[in-house]
């Protein structure tokens, strides 16, 4: 196969960026999209051009490092798939492929296709945990959790934190990311004590960095773990409740 790449090059956070065109021959259909970039980088190195910087690590769709906007779609055309698991057989021979970094105000470009997603960590820092000191945990089977609840919490917890939801959202919102973490913990009995504080702090922090949700559903479509926007509704409800709730009474049924 042969593909024509148009790749965003930007020397650093404050530099001007632009697209450059590269042709890559000898592309195997079994190659992953990141391996295409490995080949491109070998080629660039041979030509004395600095390789394209891009984030990647596990290459099996779970670490959430890879982050490319491929032909205007976060993680490219295949649904439920991160860039590292996208294979070249999904493209036609001679395809023209435009690749640029995630774009959001709070995802500053580090270099070329690599961006800084530290803002997502800040959201988790604000409350995306259950306070439990090491060693103070009760026996694990003390609290039964209905399977359906555990399964749905797991659906939310599957988020890999890649930021595709932000990248895909026309509003640059991080609602799906935040909602996934809020819902994962707020659904479980263990998470009830901090439920309203958690949602209030996490949403408020999220809004310091990101846009708002207008229900385009692009995030859900781009999410490599296909996390449902139903979680956003859950987060909204808990956030509204957090404003009114008398938190001294939350232990009451």
């Amino acid at each position: 196969m042969h593909v024509n790449l148009r790749v965003w090059r930007q020397a650093g956070p404050k530099a001007e960026g632009h697209f450059e065109d590269y042709a890559v021959d000898e592309v195997s259909p079994d190659m992953s999209f990141l391996e295409l970039f490995d080949v491109l980088n070998e080629q660039l190195l041979a030509d004395g051009v600095e390789p394209v910087a891009f984030d990647h690590d596990c290459r099996e769709g779970i670490c959430g490092s890879c982050s490319m906007m491929i032909n205007g779609q976060a993680h490219g055309p295949e649904r439920g798939t991160a860039t590292c698991q996208l294979h070249m057989r999904k493209f036609e021979d001679g395809a023209h492929i435009t690749v640029e970094p995630w774009r959001a105000r709070s995802f500053p470009i580090v270099k070329d296709l690599a961006v800084d997603r530290g803002a997502l960590d800040r959201i988790v820092e604000a409350g995306g945990y259950i306070t439990v000191r090491t060693g103070s945990a009760p026996e694990a089977n003390l609290t039964p959790i209905p399977k359906e609840v555990a399964d749905w919490a797991m659906d939310a917890a599957a988020c890999i934190g890649c930021g595709a939801c932000v990248a895909a959202c026309p509003n640059g919102a991080a609602q799906l990311f935040t909602a996934a973490k809020v819902s994962h913990l707020n659904l479980l009995p263990q998470g009830q004590s901090e439920r309203y504080e958690r949602v209030a702090n996490m949403v408020d922090t999220m809004e310091e960095y990101f846009g708002s949700c207008t229900l385009h559903r692009e995030c859900e479509a781009a999410c490599p773990k296909e996390i449902s926007i139903d979680f956003i509704a859950m987060m909204n409800r808990d956030y509204v409740k957090a404003q009114f709730k008398n938190r001294r009474l939350i232990a009451q049924k």
């Binding site: 650093g12 195997s28 259909p29 079994d30 990141l34 391996e35 490995d38 980088n41 070998e42 190195l45 004395g48 051009v49 600095e50 390789p51 910087a53 984030d55 690590d57 596990c58 290459r59 099996e60 779970i62 670490c63 490092s65 295949e78 294979h87 057989r89 580090v110 270099k111 690599a114 800084d116 997603r117 530290g118 960590d121 988790v124 820092e125 604000a126 945990y129 259950i130 439990v132 090491t134 103070s136 945990a137 694990a140 089977n141 039964p144 959790i145 209905p146 399977k147 555990a150 919490a153 797991m154 917890a157 599957a158 890999i160 934190g161 994962h184 913990l185 479980l188 263990q190 998470g191």
Partner: protein, 646 residues
């Protein structure tokens, strides 16, 4: 480098006295403690934020120590622990199937082919129970039964169901639990986090670890951090093989830099090969993907009898197929242990009967299971795996047999540590896969997650006070000290050296070449010849690397080729030690298989009289003759026996 010398004195693991059941409790009681009010006077550096590092940093922060945590990824949540699929073992005995702490301990020592330190393994089994409680309380969504209680499964051929799991994403969920605990401490200000920061040197003053030198991967700035203690939780070295199931970023640099500064590296030849990975599809392959071992429960492994058979697998009649595992191991068949299955597959491929375009795999066929159970049952059991396979290969395993081949995925060797998890360098600790671990020569399935969390949540936080308490009132060595200045200069110089070579080949090229050498000669089967050959080839490749590597860009910049070059350079030094260790260990055990030492059935043949020790190597210079320190392994509780799977 085939020379080494042996230290006259045995190495002391500082195992506490007393019956094995009481060692840990007694030791905790005998430990010196740091007063809660004084904990904030101590600074601890934690490198790596996988299961071991994140849990250690979070717990130390919680206790009140001032912690600095470092990771090279852009977020602590991305460490490679996240990729573990199967599960985590714990001796809860929820299934009432006869499990106990003692059984988990026994199984682990036996599974490790009797090359682990008994006391450490027993402690691991003890705290495994607390890990499940801790993680559940943190909100890790473990799989549950309809009654709402935790579900278990049997994993990796274990006789009891003691594995807890969260879909196929147990590692991810456990890591997120530790990451969340870590983020909480970051929010509270007890832990300071440095993402995209790589440790490039350990700083030792008067024989004691006093800090590290790091490079900010975004700006290229080289800086020092000092502390009372340094904790390395930097994972394993599978990527020495280039193609492994590890993440691209996994590297041996932190551990190797510590080794160069005096820390002993133990048992580097113990590497684990996983039999069910997707074979490489072309020369551009950058890593291999592991498929859960559970597939072997229903799949049948075979190759065509005729190496020149070019028919598609469904066209090959039964008579022309060789179900080689079922033929050679009638009792266990396709469920023989990982290493046995791996070597059998290698033999078929080496003898030219491999399948697929590159003839580098064997078939794992579900046709019989589909016929017997129906497609829907297979869908229920393996749908996500089949889907993953199809996404990667473009082939539908419901129709075409899967192609599998073994790949390196875990390394049991690592920095030598004593019972307190401290290396021989005072103040330097190693946790998780980075230490030579509790797994001996072979790790049981679902035990890696257990060990990482045990070390980080429960062991280190309890043992570190032994080292810290006597230092009360002493501040860390300031980073303006000449040792730090010298280390920084060394790091900058090394970095600049890679840029100055201006050769013709990329760091990746050398990494691939190195991978081929060690995979062919120090992979699933090793021999004196192959290892000697590798020991000749590696230094030559290393010389070529320093002559001909090409790294563009600058050092004060986000430069991924430069990062890669540094890691490859360390692998090039490390691999030599790995091969030497494999050469010196004249026996077969666990993940280390020497063709000269096997039973008639091709089983690993241990030599307990001469090799029942952990081999810890002391660095004496690149290409120099290292010194071997032996820690004798004493088995007071477990009876040594030879495996058989016939």
């Amino acid at each position: 480098m085939t020379n080494y010398s042996i230290a006259p004195e045995p190495l002391d693991g500082k195992v506490p006295p007393g019956p094995i059941e009481h060692k840990w409790d007694d030791h905790k009681f005998a430990s010196t403690l740091v007063n809660p009010a004084n904990k904030r006077r101590f600074e601890v550096i934690v490198v790596g934020t996988g299961l071991a590092g994140a849990s250690a940093a979070a717990t130390l922060g919680e206790l009140g120590y001032r912690v600095k945590a470092f990771c090279f990824q852009d977020s602590p949540r991305r460490a490679h622990s996240i990729a573990a699929q199967g599960g985590i073992n714990a001796a809860k005995n929820y299934r009432n199937d006869g499990d106990s702490i003692y059984r988990l301990f026994y199984d682990t020592v036996k599974g490790g082919d009797y090359r682990a330190r008994e006391a450490n393994v027993y402690r691991l089994a003890q705290v495994s129970v607390d890990i499940i409680d801790q993680c559940t309380a943190q909100g890790v969504p473990f799989a549950r039964e309809y009654g709402g209680l935790l579900d278990n499964r049997s994993f990796g051929g274990a006789q009891v169901s003691r594995t807890f799991y969260a879909r196929g994403q147990t590692g991810q969920q456990l890591l997120l639990g530790s990451y969340q605990a870590l983020e909480r401490q970051i929010n509270l200000g007890t832990v300071e986090m440095f993402p995209r920061t790589e440790m490039l040197e350990l700083v030792v003053k008067d024989g004691v670890a006093v800090g590290i030198v790091v490079r900010n991967l975004v700006t290229g700035a080289v800086t020092s951090h000092s502390a009372h203690a340094v904790v390395l939780a930097t994972g394993g070295y599978s990527n020495a093989f280039y193609l492994s199931t590890n993440a691209k970023g996994c590297n041996v640099t932190a551990a190797w830099r510590a080794h160069r500064k005096g820390a002993y590296f133990a048992n580097p030849c113990y590497t684990q090969i996983h039999p069910t990975c997707i074979p490489a599809s072309d020369d551009f392959q950058s890593k291999l993907t592991l498929m859960s071992e559970s597939l072997r429960n229903d799949g049948r492994i075979w190759v065509p009898k005729d190496p020149s058979d070019t028919r598609s697998p469904d066209q090959i009649p039964e008579a022309d197929r060789d179900y080689f595992l079922e033929r050679r191991y009638p009792a266990f068949g396709n469920l023989v242990p990982r290493d046995v299955a791996s070597r059998a597959a290698k033999r078929e491929v080496d003898e030219g009967r491999g399948v697929g375009p590159l003839k580098n795999g064997v078939y794992l066929d579900f046709a019989e299971a589909i016929g017997r159970l129906g497609r829907h049952v297979l869908e229920e059991r393996y749908d996500n795996l089949f889907e993953m396979y199809e996404r990667i290969t473009g082939e539908d395993p419901y129709k075409v047999p899967m192609r599998i081949y073994p790949a390196v995925h875990y390394t049991m060797g690592g920095l030598w540590v004593d019972y307190d998890l401290m290396t021989n360098v005072p103040g330097l600790y190693a946790l998780g896969e980075a230490n030579f671990s509790d797994h001996g020569a072979n790790r049981l399935g679902a035990s890696a997650l257990m060990q990482g969390l045990a070390d980080g949540y429960f062991v280190l936080p309890a043992t570190i006070s032994n080292y810290l308490a006597p230092q009360l009132g002493r501040s860390p060595v300031p980073t303006s000290d000449p040792v730090f200045q010298a280390a920084e200069a060394e790091v900058s110089e090394r970095t600049k050296r890679f840029l100055a070579i201006r050769g013709t080949k990329s760091p990746d090229h050398f990494h691939r070449e190195l991978g081929k050498i060690v995979w062919d000669n120090c992979g699933m089967a090793r021999s004196q010849d192959s290892l000697t050959k590798a020991l000749g080839e590696i230094p030559a490749l290393r010389d070529e690397f320093y002559r001909d590597v090409k790294v563009l860009g600058g050092d004060m910049d986000f430069n991924q080729s430069l990062e890669r070059a540094g890691r490859v350079a360390d692998f090039l030094e490390f691999s030599e030690l790995m091969c030497l260790d494999a050469l010196h260990r004249e026996e077969s055990c666990g993940g280390h298989f020497r063709v000269e030492h096997q039973t008639e059935d091709g089983e690993a043949l241990r030599d307990d009289d001469d090799f029942a020790y952990a081999g810890a190597w002391e660095f004496t210079g690149v290409g120099g003759a290292p010194v071997l320190h032996k820690e004798p392994l004493v088995f007071e509780n477990v009876k040594l026996a030879q495996r058989s799977y016939k």
